[in-house]
């Protein structure tokens, strides 16, 4: 891809930035086939923030990685269709994928220490990304690296350019990783639990920074987390994932304040918050299903308090009491 396409603003705001239809992801090995994602469809508009909420093993991170095809090619079978910024991701060859990654689409991770290269300075790592994608001179890239560190509010940015990752604190490292991700002005930012490993007082700083940058730069963001509070702070829309499917999806206020699916309701009930002292937490019994042996029908049925015979027969269809709020539950 050339610089011109990068500079193009989305021609029509009506076309979605991301369009995913019936995405499935299977991990195939000799022992078992793990059905990590089982038919996920969604679209994301430019400048919109979608939070995918789910517990470990729900398929949220796998879905995110599938959008960039960051999964081991030999063992992974991706089905359905994935379109990002008008391009068919599943049809891309390695070269096109390299252009996409870090160019139009960037990703930030939970653990910056493993995402950053320990033997290069922060400044070098940012500049390298810009040179690779935009073909500018080293001097121009260095200047932009400084701008980026200032953008992510790293104090004494000029000095920090020559720091190695291990010389930075956890919060600064996470900011540096965000700076690298933003280096080529991506249209889409994928965030895989970027605040989970951080302390409470630092987590909120990074969340507010991401929200501010997203608004200023007009990026679309897909943010994966297990934390309801994070969704409450940053999401426009929320999708709740369970056993590889979106079981509920809608605007953040709808999903958080009027959850439809029993799993979402259970998640809200079992999340400890102020005012629950002395009460019994409404825990969801049991544990999420094994993805190598998914139950027939609704995957949540074995843990659901209001399960019926029909739940075990077929996977519930999407139901929409109002057009913008979807849940896969026959009782909706």
């Amino acid at each position: 891809m050339t610089t011109e396409t990068l500079e193009q603003r989305p021609a029509a705001a009506t076309t979605p930035l991301v369009s995913v239809r019936d995405m499935t992801v299977k991990f195939v090995s000799k022992e078992a086939t793990v059905h990590a994602v089982n038919g996920v469809s969604f679209s994301l508009d430019p400048g919109e923030v979608l939070v995918i909420l789910g517990e470990s093993g729900s398929g949220k991170s796998v879905s995110l990685r599938a959008l960039m095809r960051l999964l081991p090619a030999r063992k992974t079978v991706i089905g359905g269709s994935i379109t990002v910024a008008g391009q068919d991701v599943l049809a891309m060859d390695e070269r096109q994928l390299e252009d996409l990654r870090g160019g139009q689409v960037a990703m930030i991770f939970q653990e910056p220490m493993t995402a950053l290269d320990p033997v290069f300075t922060i400044g070098t790592q940012i500049a390298e990304t810009i040179i690779r994608h935009e073909g500018v001179s080293r001097a121009a890239a260095d200047a932009r690296a400084l701008e980026l560190l200032e953008l992510v509010q790293i104090p004494s940015a000029k000095r920090r350019l020559s720091n190695y990752p291990h010389e930075l604190s956890g919060g600064l490292r996470q900011r540096a990783m965000i700076a690298i991700a933003l280096a080529c002005r991506p249209k889409l930012l994928l965030a895989d639990e970027p605040t989970t490993a951080l302390d409470a007082t630092v987590q909120i700083q990074i969340l507010l920074l991401l929200r501010k940058l997203q608004q200023e730069l007009g990026m679309g963001v897909i943010f994966v987390t297990h934390d309801l509070g994070v969704a409450g702070e940053i999401a426009d829309r929320v999708a709740v994932m369970y056993a590889g499917r979106f079981v509920e999806e809608g605007p953040v206020s709808e999903v958080m304040l009027r959850p439809l699916h029993p799993y979402t309701q259970g998640l809200m009930g079992s999340t400890v918050h102020a005012g629950l002292r002395g009460t019994r937490l409404a825990a969801i019994p049991g544990a999420p299903p094994n993805l190598a042996r998914l139950p027939e029908g609704c995957a949540f049925a074995p843990r659901c308090a209001s399960v019926e015979e029909a739940c075990r027969v077929a996977v519930p269809d999407e139901r929409r009491p109002i057009p913008i709020h979807m849940a896969r539950c026959i009782r909706v």
């Binding site: 600064l172 409450g232 019994r280």
Partner: protein
């Protein structure tokens, strides 16, 4: 406290209900940092620097703080898994150490549950053998220890006929943490130190384990020291809360006071940093800027002053004393703003 009535019936109780079960006095541990050509000490991490607290019989003391504040080191010093540089631990009126309570006896009375449920179980032992291991070491006959292990599995919600012979890798994270709790109970301890016991669990499983901990405390007459970085969990489970910052106690008091009327600016910032569950009440400004400073060279005076919005000259000059507002106050804070006559412009007069 109604729990104390139960405790007086405990034949192991010596000091009576008014005697704190645990008193920790001025616990200190500095770790040297080795480096350079001759591997000499080039600095020290003041991991725990003069921590004192007490735990009453039948209560849950929550310890909160960010990573590196010394909360886990405090737990390990308490158990003597790490040897303290100085300080003492008094268990039910008896000092632990030479001339007092033997270390092995103390470790029988205080048990610990760790965050990593997998690393703390022997992968080659069926879980009932893991649970029965410590009692057999302490002289309980094997058959009896095993029968008790099965009872404990039932008590933590794992059907013994289904789970007793399983290995740790055959269990989910939540189930493994239940096994660790059962194992901690095997020696019939009076105190359980729980170091981030639910932090690695999913929310739906976390709630199950928290409910279980509440039940077990009642059924086995336990006293908990509950360490966590999660303020909501600590509020749910604790009777009293201790807030740590860079190896020292910033504030301690009854849970309602700490959450309802915090006195230390760090506690206030920590509480304000919790994301709200309501999208209509989004935060606009972070309560604190920057990361916690490095414990290798902590700031002079009040260690929080570098991030505190109210810091004045006195904060750099003198270390604030952990004190209450009135005599015999149960709510203590180490802040010059809460100490009359400290020289801070916001101090009470």
């Amino acid at each position: 406290m109604d729990a104390s009535e139960v405790q007086t019936a405990d034949p192991r109780d010596r000091g009576g209900p008014a005697q704190p079960l645990l008193i920790v006095r001025d616990l200190k541990r500095h770790f040297p940092i080795k480096g350079g050509l001759l591997n000499r000490a080039v600095g020290t991490v003041q991991a725990v620097d003069g921590v004192s607290f007490s735990v009453m019989k039948g209560e849950t003391l929550g310890i909160v703080g960010e990573s590196g504040c010394g909360k886990s080191t405090t737990a390990r010093l308490l158990m003597r898994l790490i040897e303290p540089d100085s300080g003492e631990v008094i268990f039910d009126g008896e000092p632990v150490g030479p001339g007092g309570m033997a270390l092995s006896e103390m470790r029988r009375q205080i048990q610990m549950v760790f965050q990593d449920s997998y690393a703390s179980l022997n992968p080659r032992l069926p879980i009932e053998d893991s649970i029965a291991f410590a009692p057999t070491v302490h002289g309980v006959p094997k058959a009896k220890a095993r029968a008790r292990a099965r009872d404990l599995l039932a008590a933590v919600g794992l059907a013994p006929e289904q789970f007793a012979r399983r290995y740790p890798h055959e269990l989910s994270g939540g189930q493994r943490q239940r096994v660790n709790i059962a194992r901690a109970l095997a020696l019939e301890p009076r105190v359980i130190v729980l170091d981030e016991p639910v932090s690695a669990l999913d929310k739906s499983v976390e709630a199950q384990v928290l409910n279980l901990l509440v039940d077990l405390k009642r059924d086995f007459h336990l006293t908990y020291v509950f360490i966590s970085h999660d303020l909501n969990v600590v509020q749910f489970i604790s009777d009293r809360v201790l807030v740590m910052y860079l190896g020292q106690v910033a504030e301690v008091g009854p849970v309602e006071d700490i959450y309802g009327a915090p006195r230390h600016p760090y506690t206030r910032a920590l509480l304000a940093s919790r994301p709200s569950m309501d999208p209509a009440k989004r935060m606009t400004e972070p309560p604190l800027t920057g990361d916690p400073p490095n414990p290798i060279n902590p700031p002079s005076g009040c260690r929080f002053r570098t991030r505190c919005a109210f810091a004045e000259a006195v904060c750099a000059e003198r270390v604030p004393v952990l004190a209450g507002l009135v005599p015999h106050d149960s709510h203590l804070a180490a802040c010059h703003m809460a100490a009359a006559g400290s020289g801070h412009s916001r101090a009470p007069t």
